[in-house]
């Protein structure tokens, strides 16, 4: 039994689904961020699998740009989280962030 590209695609789909469900289910803002990282990693696995299947190195190059976007997102997002948590001592759930609710 050899591992073909569709094995990697199936694995990436499962990883993406776990991340998406976690993003919807969890209420802790930091854990929601980690679930976003899981989804981005699933996309990276997909890119590398397609790069292998299509014999094209561009898929591996695009992974770098996904990495840069993830790093920028983490930097800004964690800064926002720190700014929010500094004002509201101790509350760690997304349900408390309802200032725009009207």
């Amino acid at each position: 039994m050899t591992v073909t590209g569709s094995y990697y695609l199936t694995f990436a789909a499962m990883l993406f689904t776990i991340g998406a469900v976690g993003l919807l289910v969890r209420r802790n803002v930091l854990v929601m961020f980690m679930c976003v990282e899981l989804m981005l990693n699933a996309v990276n696995v997909t890119f590398v699998a397609f790069s292998k299947m299509l014999n094209d190195v561009s898929g591996q190059t695009i992974v770098f740009f996904v990495l840069v976007v993830a790093a920028a997102e983490v930097a800004v997002g964690l800064a926002i989280i720190v700014a929010i948590f500094r004002r509201r001592q101790g509350s760690a759930t997304a349900d408390d962030l309802d200032l725009l609710q009207g």
Binding site: A13, N41, L54, F65, L67
Partner: protein
């Protein structure tokens, strides 16, 4: 051997992903995330993407996760969180949506529909040099414009992070310079909790 490695790494990665979602303590979630990221690096190696695997370990599994752990410790949310749900319909709806999406994508992936034309240049085995050289050639020729844009993006992210996270030490009469911080810290009803 490759089959064995794939199933071990994929199983560990999925276990780590489930750990991220199911762990009550955010620190445990972050450590499960490390497990997932390292095993994904193994999967990259299995597919012959050595440079991507190295960058995955260096950037993701060390830098980003350390940043996560640092913020967890900084804001002190490393205690357990109740997994109770304020909206009763949300969790079943999310799981149903996930099952539907999983079935859909696995169905598509199982049919191996992405068998388009192979690359005419820049192939994985074409020419001399290893994986690093090929990725570098692609990055600095075909994608050089996107590469420049990422430099701008990173600078913007650093500036945004500093503006959002810094404490304002300015007097109120210097309000003009302290505007970005005020926009974040002023909230509902003028309640301002700020450490001296």
């Amino acid at each position: 051997m490759e089959t064995f490695l794939f199933f071990v790494a994929a199983g560990l990665a999925l276990a780590g992903a489930l750990g991220v979602v199911l762990a009550k303590n955010p620190v445990h979630s972050a450590l499960s995330l490390v497990l997932t990221l390292l095993t994904i690096a193994v999967l990259f190696l299995l597919q012959g993407a050595q440079l991507v695997a190295a960058v995955q370990v260096i950037v993701y599994a060390s830098a980003i996760v350390v940043l996560f752990l640092f913020v967890i410790m900084l804001i002190g949310v490393d205690r357990e969180e109740s997994l109770g749900e304020p909206f009763h319909f949300q969790r079943p709806a999310a799981i149903a949506l996930g099952v539907i999406a999983l079935a859909e994508v696995v169905f598509l992936a199982g049919h191996e529909w992405a068998t388009g034309a192979s690359a005419t240049r820049g192939g994985l085995q074409a020419g001399t040099g290893g994986n690093v050289e090929r990725v570098a050639k692609s990055l600095f020729t075909d994608f050089v414009w996107a590469f420049e844009i990422t430099a701008v993006l990173l600078v913007l992210a650093v500036v945004g992070g500093v503006v959002l996270a810094r404490r304002s030490h300015l007097k109120p009469d210097n309000a003009g310079a302290a505007q970005p911080d005020d926009a974040v810290t002023q909230g509902d009803g003028g309640e301002r909790v700020r450490n001296p």
